[in-house]
């Protein structure tokens, strides 16, 4: 019986992750720790993820169109990304400056 509950929980976990998947995209979110060339590092709860930026990446700052140069270290960011060759590659970057500064 215990095994059944565990299996059921795993299935539900998988289903919930799938429903959140926003198509087949991963969601990377947190605070921008570093911007180096076409790579940004996003940190949350001590864990860091690197995301590759491309010329086709779209940018949005507080609901308005933005550019890559507008992103600063310390900004809160939500990135919709797909894995290309094992690396998260940004499709869309949504960000906001801390304290609501625009």
């Amino acid at each position: 019986m215990k095994r059944t509950y565990i299996a059921l929980a795993l299935v539900l976990l998988l289903l919930s992750a799938r429903s959140y998947a926003h198509g087949n995209m991963d969601h990377v979110l947190g605070t921008v720790k570093q911007i180096a060339g076409n790579t940004i590092s996003v940190e949350k709860d001590g864990q860091t993820t690197e995301v590759i930026l491309t010329p086709t990446t779209t940018w949005e700052n507080n609901g308005k169109p933005a550019k890559a140069a507008d992103l600063k270290v310390g900004d809160r960011v939500v990135i919709h990304a797909v894995k290309v060759d094992g690396k998260e590659t940004a499709h869309e970057v949504r960000f906001a400056h801390p304290g609501g500064a625009r």
Partner: protein, 287 residues
């Protein structure tokens, strides 16, 4: 083969004596000179008549060496007959070998395709792509191709076309028309980048016809009613013309018209809350 001066029986007798002849065309057997070349003289003694067709002797004087050698080669009638049979055999042999090679090639191609399968992940080959483009070019009738957009691209028309595109087309073509979406990236053949010349160089009528009638064996369905002239489709055509100049603000505005599921809507709210400094913790990584 006809003989101009000589009877076949006498020719046969001459052949039995080991005499060789130069066969020139089909009309003359001529005596050889001392170096194995045919002369204009008949091979039989006492036959002083010139060849009936003087041009038959031109085999030697022709400016095509290969033909000259063929015509002037000294052969007996039996050898000529045998040569013809051999030639026919070579033709038949070549035909059979060619057919077998073609069948083997088709078999190998089929085995190769079956081995790799036909999933949407493998990119179409250059030949397949060319055939698809060729078929697409000819899928639109001449009359449709010649149509021009009857609706002028005003700001209102572009707004309507943009909202329509965001609601119905962007799922595969993406808001900016480059075709990189969940569905677009998974389609084979992939939707074209509508911003590029391959699409922009099509006539208004071609774009209209493709939207109305779809493209067979692709992910593009027929959206229109047969024979109908749909104003909303013409507005889409106007908007597709505008895609190369689409601004970031326009693209962002299109997101409001994109179809969105309740789950995605909730997710969006959580993301907005997170970005505005709220305590909401949308799922994602790093978590």
């Amino acid at each position: 083969m006809g003989f101009v001066h000589c009877f076949p029986r006498r020719l046969q007798q001459a052949a039995e004596r080991g005499k060789t002849f130069g066969a020139i065309g089909e009309n003359a057997y001529l005596r050889e000179d001392g170096r194995g070349r045919p002369t204009r003289q008949c091979c039989f003694e006492g036959c002083a008549q010139p060849p009936l067709r003087d041009d038959a002797a031109r085999g030697w004087g022709t400016r095509f060496p290969a033909r000259r050698r063929l015509r002037a080669s000294p052969r007996t009638p039996l050898e000529v007959e045998r040569s013809m049979l051999v030639q026919r055999g070579i033709v038949m042999y070549s035909f059979v070998c060619g057919a077998l090679a073609l069948a083997a090639s088709l078999l190998l191609a089929a085995m190769f395709l079956l081995q790799d399968g036909f999933s949407s992940r493998s990119k179409p080959s250059a030949v397949e792509g060319w055939m698809a483009r060729y078929a697409l070019r000819h899928a639109v009738s001449q009359a449709d191709r010649a149509m021009t957009n009857p609706i002028a691209p005003s700001a209102e028309v572009l707004d309507e076309g943009r909202d329509h595109f965001a609601d119905h087309c962007a799922l595969c073509h993406s808001n900016n028309g480059d075709g990189h979406t969940l569905y677009g990236d998974g389609l084979n053949p992939a939707p074209p980048n509508l911003r590029l010349a391959a699409t922009q160089n099509k006539t208004d009528g071609e774009l209209y016809s493709i939207i109305q009638n779809g493209v067979r064996m692709t992910g593009m369905p027929a959206f229109g009613t047969p024979g109908a002239h749909d104003a909303s489709t013409w507005k889409l055509v106007a908007f597709i013309r505008h895609l190369p100049a689409l601004t970031a603000a326009e693209e962002l505005a299109m997101r409001k018209a994109n179809p969105i599921s309740p789950t995605e809507l909730e997710e969006r709210k959580q993301e907005d809350d997170f970005l505005s400094g709220g305590s909401a913790q949308p799922k994602g990584q790093p978590r």
